[in-house]
Symmetry: C2
């Protein structure tokens, strides 16, 4: 699959595949020296693309993060979700409301402290979570289109260090 002159077709080149268009992006010259600026731009771009990819499932990125959290800590309280998702209590309430409406998770009273709920992911929740994984991979491959495998590993490792969860430490 190539052009008449032998070049691979444009749509398979990293530049064409990238979520950041053809290089160089116009603003690069002014701000490519700022890690802060780049983190912010790349982060918001990734969020936006992932949001769009999740649209057919009726979910947004924070739903996926919450379902992942629940899968690893099933029965977590809403307070756990607040700290676990770096969110706030009112956002978590509406998040769990949506889960209950969609049948992806449910509240169960904690009999030992009736102020709190345990939030439990359902079988349907797990199934939906599995179906988001391919979408995440597809978006990630577009966002990181210009990176080699080694660079991708390096990025993941450094980001883990940034938040303090480097599994190698």
């Amino acid at each position: 699959m190539s052009e008449p002159d032998g070049r691979p077709v444009a749509t398979t080149s990293p530049d064409e595949m990238s979520a950041f268009g053809s290089a160089p992006t116009p603003w690069s010259a002014a701000s490519a020296g700022s890690t802060l600026f780049l983190l912010s731009k790349v982060g918001s771009r990734a969020t936006k693309l992932y949001s769009e990819a999740l649209e057919p499932l009726g979910l947004r990125p924070r739903h996926v993060a919450a379902l992942r959290f629940l899968e690893s800590r099933d029965g977590a309280s809403q307070k756990d979700l607040v700290s676990g998702l770096w969110s706030d209590s009112s956002s978590v309430v509406s998040l769990v409301d949506e889960f209950e409406r969609q049948g992806l998770a449910e509240r169960r009273r904690n009999p030992r402290d009736r102020r709190s709920y345990g939030v439990h992911i359902t079988a349907e929740g797990r199934r939906v979570l599995r179906s988001t994984e391919a979408l995440a991979e597809e978006v990630e491959s577009r966002v990181l289109a210009r990176l080699s495998g080694a660079q991708r590993e390096s990025l993941l490792r450094v980001l883990r260090s940034v938040i303090g969860t480097d599994p190698e430490v």
Copy 2:
């Protein structure tokens, strides 16, 4: 400057300095495998902290990005700013409005195409831009507190590659 037992004082340790609190963050286990999730979290955290740091100057991160852009491409049209900042036209209008109110930049009619303006940074705009630099460095050092110098360079290099402006390519 150290504790009696020779350890450096706590406030200077990477964990205490980091904008991400003490490791491990609760949500790490569930999602630290996702570069997408980490990019989004780190990016939004960086933006938020930088916003707060800029508050005394009456600016927000996008103002700084725009001033940087204007410094490198003075007289750019608002359309240039739209593509240059990866923004949209209505946002750029209000951005330039604010610059004019604050005396940081000004519109000048383009005599060769009277539909468009050239946006010109003022001396005050340059002065303010200089004063944001120390703030950006301070925030960056908190966000990247856990990274070594080599890791910081690696992160910057990889982020440049992501957006396609790696100066070494």
